[in-house]
């Protein structure tokens, strides 16, 4: 079964960006993962300055020069720096090789500033990967929940969103995004809690779920198990591992002449 990983980071490794991806690819080969979506640079910045954004994206661009055969890049943006973010979107996606957008915890995603990013993303066929988590222990100041992403998705039905971590508290996250067919659930980054994929398939359908690992912070074992171990059909597993992500990235890749 071919596997595409929609949620990878180059932090936690050593060396140049290309050398970091080389280490990731070695592990991906070991675990049977064909493609990696990478974003956010070698150092995580929760509220990146314009300079930090550019540096993070430069690192991903560097990595893609060597590994475009195995990796796709998502441009990291910060809605607090809207002009810079739109410029980065232009540089890295419209004129560059990246195919999607990553938003993390700088700003709640249902704030008006995000609308301009989404509108531009629609014109580029670029999906938006938004980190979401709902922590009973308390969220970071700008950290979004799946409910907030659902609000954003409702405002932009033509955009495609990936609900990073499916809200962390996935039982609530799945419920939050269920009514919005333009939001996909990312399985990556949480514990391999039994029942996650089963509930997602039941409530969202097997076409709206994406495999992601959140490596290197997470183990490939724990993340692959969410699909391999789920009591769902092999057809659903194939869609989660490959077909669904391939489907939402294909328009952006086609713009760049990348045939899959």
């Amino acid at each position: 079964m071919e596997i595409w990983d929609g949620h990878c980071h180059i932090s936690g490794y050593s060396g140049t960006p290309a050398e970091r991806v080389e280490q990731m690819v070695a592990l991906a080969d070991l675990m049977g993962v064909a493609r990696l979506c990478i974003f956010m640079g070698s150092t995580f910045q929760q509220d990146p300055t314009p300079e930090q954004l550019r540096k993070a994206n430069d690192e991903i661009l560097d990595a893609l020069k060597a590994w475009s055969s195995r990796a796709f890049g998502f441009v990291y943006l910060n809605p607090k720096h809207l002009d810079i973010s739109l410029a980065e979107l232009e540089r890295c996606v419209r004129k560059g090789p990246m195919v999607a957008i990553k938003l993390w915890v700088a700003q709640h995603c249902d704030t008006p500033e995000v609308d301009a990013i989404v509108e531009r993303a629609i014109t580029l066929d670029a999906p938006i990967f938004q980190h979401t988590w709902r922590k009973v222990s308390g969220n970071l100041p700008g950290e979004s929940t799946a409910v907030e992403l659902a609000r954003l998705a409702a405002r932009h039905p033509k955009a495609t969103f990936i609900c990073g971590h499916t809200g962390g508290d996935w039982e609530q996250g799945i419920r939050a995004i269920a009514p919005y067919g333009n939001v996909y659930a990312d399985l990556g980054g949480g514990d391999p809690t039994a029942g996650f994929a089963e509930m997602a398939v039941r409530e969202l359908g097997e076409d709206r779920i994406l495999f992601g690992s959140d490596i290197p912070g997470r183990s490939y074992g724990s993340q692959l198990a969410k699909v391999y171990g789920a009591r769902i059909s092999d057809t659903a597993k194939a869609k989660i591992f490959t077909t669904n992500l391939k489907g939402i990235l294909t328009p952006a890749l086609a713009r760049k002449g990348v045939a899959l």
């Binding site: 222990s137 514990d191 290197p216 183990s219 074992g221 198990a225």
Partner: protein, 254 residues
């Protein structure tokens, strides 16, 4: 292979298919698991813990095809907890007990904990201690439970040289120097269920000798395949793999 961290029973917050023996056993067979060390999730919540342990022993006795070793629960906050230890050993013939200090409401500097370890050591019972059951960020808001603070364990073990404790689900809460201090005792073992990060076994064996690492899955709360896949994620020799999956557990039972 021997899985040292499996439970059956009911979890209040989620339906867990593998908590049912009828679902669990075929999965064990599919993955070539020859033996499981089973606790009962009801042991975290029930006050009639003797009844929980008796049912667990009965269920294990009925299992065919896989060796199911019952690990009874002991709650040090209950009156006459010593009787539960005695029954686990003398009535049910269990090889070990499982502790959940954070769910039962005591800390490891409680004098009763030391008494328990002495008692267990005299009876040659393996003591498993679950450090974590759920990600603290994901808990039900009405039931938030801290990880077990294992800091006092180092001093407690120093006073009982023949005691040995197996920490289950340790690696979300215990990292860095805290692991070093426990490793230095030579009396602590760890299962890999909560070992995260890429190539996790390769990383943790730099800190914890392989002879103290064991295969545990934290099933039914975790997908059974998680820990098994972790075995493929790190470059391990056949000897190391056999140690983690089988021989270390067998040595504890010997």
């Amino acid at each position: 292979m021997i899985d040292v961290n499996v439970s059956i029973g009911t979890w209040p917050f989620r339906n867990l298919p593998c908590a049912d023996m009828d679902v669990l056993l075929p999965k064990l067979g599919h993955h070539g698991i020859e033996s499981v060390w089973l606790g009962n999730l009801e042991g975290l919540f029930h006050k009639d813990i003797a009844g929980v342990n008796a049912r667990l022993a009965d269920q294990c006795a009925m299992v065919n095809g896989v060796e199911a070793l019952a690990f009874g629960s002991v709650n040090l906050t209950l009156p006459n907890w010593e009787e539960d230890v005695r029954r686990c050993d003398e009535i049910h013939g269990m090889r070990g007990i499982r502790l959940h200090p954070n769910y039962h409401g005591y800390t490891l500097d409680d004098p009763k904990f030391k008494v328990l370890l002495q008692n267990a050591a005299e009876r040659n019972l393996i003591v498993q201690l679950a450090v974590t059951m759920e990600d603290e960020r994901m808990m039900h808001p009405l039931m938030r439970v801290e990880h077990v603070d294992t800091t006092p364990l180092v001093e407690v073990l120093a006073g009982i040289p023949n005691a040995r404790v197996m920490l289950l689900n340790a690696f979300r809460a215990i990292r860095g120097k805290a692991i070093d201090a426990l490793v230095d005792t030579g009396q602590v073992d760890y299962d890999i269920a909560w070992l995260e990060g890429t190539s996790g076994i390769e990383s943790i064996r730099k800190q914890i000798p392989v002879e103290h690492l064991l295969l545990g899955t934290h099933s039914p709360l975790f997908y059974y395949e998680s820990s098994l896949l972790k075995l493929s994620e790190s470059p391990l020799s056949d000897t190391e793999l056999e140690a983690i999956t089988t021989n270390n557990a067998r040595a504890l039972l010997a």
